[in-house]
């Protein structure tokens, strides 16, 4: 790893919905080829921060540097073209379409269906369960399988950076393990991953770096191990003296 | 039966003369006569009302060019009934507020029924374009037709079917509005008397575009002849549909089936259709053809019987006024009753017209067959004298 510059950097980003400000000068950097996890209590602005990066939210102040270039205000299409993929929270599939069609749509902005075919095949190879169900409607998949499908769909665009928001939500522990294993696998292939996760312990366990957000600001940042052992983290989540008990 | 050809030639010749010699504006000394023209200028009746209005306007121009009515100039004011009785009542009220000499229009019988009350109360003559049978049966002394009513036009059709065609099984298709319903009821009554057997009685909608089901039903009833009482466009759609599905039995109907508009729209599908009409635009008479040409030149559309009716309404006013010797709005209706109008003295009347006591008129008619897109007269009915 020769290039040590961050793949993505947020500099004092301010933004929100309408009159409501959620991000109050949020700054952090995302290391190349690593998993960086953002944690923080509810309402800290984690998901908002992802939307700001992906051009889904008006950023009022600050800069968002992708490999050194400001991409503030860039459209999702432009970001996808520059190798960024976003897997949002919740269910984001075309539930009426088949698994294969969902995968094919992952690259619809990038090339013809024919050009996407090898990539779709590669995705199906990576996730055997999806190959089994390639012809089924996406809505018939279990929650975990749907999340895998979303990740697989994101990979069709061959991203260098994946933004993934709360992948473990609503999944069984076994499924969470599989999703996380997928993510580490991707990291090992050199993909940078920025993840928001509630399930802080297990997320930090597979992460290289961690960032703690609170009230739209970066409160702590460090290696995953440092953050995991920081007593202030529990206090941020539960308030009072929770951390002392932990 | 012997309609004087000389009279016709004379009439139309005069008319042509007037048309040619009209540019010089007559100098009117007497006060103008206000003519109110309520018509269906918008809404579903627009295609009918606009032609009526244009016919009225053309006649007024012709009359004025010839020096007006006893030296009085005719001045028309148009009113749009929007094909809506409540609006019609409003505009007639407005027209009456201006104390018109006569009201010419409207055409739709619903509107006429509303207006009758008002013109009667104001003692103003209303000459309208409606054909529904009941318009002149209500004892209103101020309302007049401009053409034959259904009570006059249906019997010749029944007779033609019974005697000429020797048909026994009749299928009928009619449009479910005041016009079609009236024609259908009149036909049913007459057909019964003539011993015709109605094997299919098909109601259709105004503006109906698809007649496939009707045609299939008609075919399934195996009629000897078909009676058609539809508006022009619907008649054309029906004829096209029927020909397309290979219906070959004789088709007979009212004025609309042999109307030029129907012929234009139906194209070859109209061939062989027989219809009875009061004054038809296709009547092979110089006066009528001259009217048709001039109308087309002026308004860039082909006239239909409504245009003729509107045209004649003005000449009816002129004839009655001249009979009185002076314009008298309240006496106009009385002067019209029983009046016999001859084209010789009133060239715009086109054919001799007898105004009956109830406000109906009898100006004769034609049994017409369509051949190669042209009307051919089979039989001419003389007006009763």
């Amino acid at each position: 790893m020769t290039d040590r510059s961050p793949v993505l950097e947020l500099q004092s980003v301010v933004g929100g919905y309408g009159r409501m400000t959620i991000l109050n000068g949020c700054s952090f950097a995302v290391a190349r080829g690593a998993i960086t996890t953002v944690i923080g209590p509810n309402g800290a602005g984690k998901s908002t921060c992802f939307k700001a990066i992906f051009g889904l939210l008006a950023v009022r102040e600050g800069r968002i540097l992708l490999e050194g270039q400001d991409v503030r205000g860039a459209s999702p299409a432009a970001l996808i073209a520059r190798g960024v993929t976003y897997v949002p929270q919740g269910r984001n599939l075309f539930t009426e379409l088949s698994v294969r069609e969902n995968l094919e749509l992952g690259g619809v902005a990038l090339g013809s269906a024919a050009a996407m075919r090898p990539l779709v095949e590669a995705a199906l190879d990576r996730f055997p369960i999806l190959r089994q169900k390639a012809r089924d409607q996406a809505s018939t998949l279990s929650g975990g399988q749907q999340k895998l499908l979303e990740i697989a769909r994101g990979l069709i665009a061959e991203p260098r950076l994946i933004l993934i928001d709360e992948p473990s939500i609503g999944l069984s522990p076994l499924m969470v393990k599989e999703v996380f294993a997928t993510l580490t696998g991707l990291r090992d292939q050199g993909v940078s991953i920025l993840m928001v996760e509630q399930n802080a312990r297990s997320a930090l366990a597979i992460s290289d770096h961690a960032i703690v957000l609170e009230s739209g600001r970066t409160r702590l940042a460090g290696t995953a191990q440092e953050i995991l052992n920081d007593p202030r983290v529990a206090r941020l989540f539960l308030g009072g003296d929770a951390g002392d008990a932990a | 039966m012997r309609l004087s050809a000389t009279r016709l030639a004379l009439g139309s010749g005069l008319l042509a003369l007037i048309a040619a010699a009209s540019p010089a504006r007559a100098d009117f000394t007497a006060p103008d006569l206000q003519i109110a023209v309520p018509a269906e200028l918008s809404g579903s009746g627009a295609s009918v009302g606009v032609l009526w209005r244009d016919g009225v306007h053309m006649a007024i121009d012709d009359v004025n060019a010839k020096g007006g009515v006893l030296g009085h100039k005719l001045v028309a004011t148009d009113y749009d009934t929007q094909t809506n009785p409540s609006v019609s009542r409003a505009v007639i009220q407005k027209a009456l507020d201006g104390h018109p000499y006569a009201v010419l229009g409207p055409v739709y019988s619903g509107s006429v029924k509303v207006d009758e009350e008002l013109t009667k109360a104001a003692h103003i003559t209303e000459i309208m374009g409606g054909e529904a049978g009941d318009l002149t049966t209500l004892g209103d002394a101020y309302v007049f037709r401009t053409g034959l009513g259904q009570a006059q036009t249906i019997p010749p059709v029944v007779e033609y079917m019974a005697h000429d065609l020797k048909a026994k099984r009749i299928a009928m298709i009619w449009v479910n509005d005041d016009y079609g319903k009236g024609g259908r009821d009149a036909f049913l009554a007459d057909a019964k008397k003539a011993g015709l057997n109605v094997v299919a009685d098909l109601s259709s909608e105004v503006g109906q575009v698809n007649f496939q089901a009707d045609v299939l039903r008609l075919r399934a009833s195996h009629p000897d002849a078909v009676f058609i009482y539809l508006h022009e466009e619907e008649a054309a759609r029906f004829l096209k549909g029927a020909r397309q599905m290979g219906v070959a039995v004789p088709m007979v109907g009212g004025t609309t089936v042999i109307d030029s508009q129907t012929m234009k729209l139906a194209g070859s599908a109209a061939n062989g259709v027989v219809g009875f009409s009061g004054l038809a635009t296709g009547a092979p008479m110089p006066a009528v053809q001259n009217f048709v040409q001039r109308f087309q030149a002026e308004f860039h559309v082909h006239p239909d019987h409504n245009a003729i009716k509107g045209y004649m309404a003005v000449w009816m006013v002129k004839a009655a006024t001249e009979k009185m010797g002076k314009p008298d709005a309240t006496g106009l209706a009385a002067a019209l009753h029983g009046l016999m109008i001859e084209p010789a003295s009133q060239p715009g009347i086109l054919l001799p017209m007898h105004v009956l006591a109830n406000g109906d008129v009898d100006n004769g008619g034609f049994m017409v067959v369509v051949k190669d897109g042209q009307q051919h007269i089979i039989r001419i009915m003389k007006p009763s004298m």
Partner: protein
């Protein structure tokens, strides 16, 4: 009897195929940008008049057709979206619905003023072929065939091409489509253009039988509406199914039912479907959030 039923079915399908064409456009607009287009019927009349206008200069139908298509794409596609739909959408769905009602009044009266209230003939095919008990007329045959081909072509376009798939993705879930880098705005515009093309085709196919008249759209629009809802408002194949079902039902009802109430048939079907199966024949339920 069997021959009559077969004939009715054939006739009903030919009628229904037209309904389907207009209904597809209708539901595409709904999927694309929540437009319930009350002027859809008038959208069919406009290209018919354009073609008549072009042919009025002595040009043949095959020249008039592309001209009408071009005008449709421009006026009923681009202009309709830019001038009416986009500025209105921010006010919500209902003002837009009412605006399309006003648009219908506008178009009908404008066409009446320009072309007069007369009906005009339109060139079509005459004659047919006698197949024993069945009679197949060329116009119906061509209508049915063209409609089937158009639906097939549309289906292939939507399912096989990149753009078509992007349109489908946009219709299904615009938010996710955007995440996948689809230019949602452009896809919506394309659905408007497809609608414009479909109504132009419908105009070519129905005008010979229906004639061209300023207010023809009322009947066509209402029926297409019913077809779209009966089939499933949010589904292209639903609109096809709804159109065919309605065409066949109407033909059968007009043949065997009380004909004075024939206009009630689509309405009763509509009410029954809206009340008891609002998602339509093939549609999916619109998601409701608590």
């Amino acid at each position: 009897m069997a021959a009559l039923l077969a004939q009715l079915l054939l006739t009903g399908l030919a009628t229904g195929a037209i309904y389907a064409l207009v209904a597809i456009g209708f539901s595409l607009l709904w999927q694309g940008s929540q437009v319930v287009n009350f002027a859809q019927g008038d959208f069919v009349t406009l290209p018919a008049f354009v073609m008549l206008g072009v042919m009025g200069y002595g040009l043949p139908l095959w020249v008039a057709m592309p001209v009408a298509l071009l005008v449709s794409l421009l006026v009923l596609g681009v202009l309709f979206r830019r001038v009416l739909v986009q500025p209105m959408l921010r006010h919500g769905v209902m003002p837009l619905v009412i605006a399309t009602m006003a648009l219908s009044i506008f178009m009908e009266n404008a066409m009446k003023n320009v072309a007069s209230a007369e009906a005009y003939p339109f060139p079509g095919l005459s004659g047919g072929i006698d197949l024993g008990p069945l009679f197949l007329d060329w116009q119906s045959a061509v209508t049915l065939l063209s409609a089937v081909l158009a639906v097939l072509a549309l289906h292939l376009f939507l399912s096989r091409t990149r753009t078509g798939r992007a349109i489908q993705a946009t219709a299904q879930n615009p938010a996710v489509a955007r995440l996948l880098g689809i230019n949602v705005d452009r896809m919506i515009l394309i659905t408007f253009l497809i609608n414009a093309a479909l109504v132009t085709l419908a105009a070519v196919l129905i005008s010979p039988a229906y004639l061209v008249k300023f207010n023809n759209g009322e009947a066509i629009g209402l029926t297409a509406f019913c077809a779209a809802i009966i089939g499933g408002f949010n589904q292209v194949r639903g609109a096809v199914a709804g159109g065919l079902l309605l065409g066949v039902t109407e033909t059968f009802a007009a043949t065997f039912g009380p004909d004075q109430y024939r206009a009630a048939v689509p309405m009763v079907l509509l009410i029954v479907f809206v009340l008891f199966r609002p998602q339509g024949l093939l549609g999916r339920r619109e998601e409701r959030r608590v």
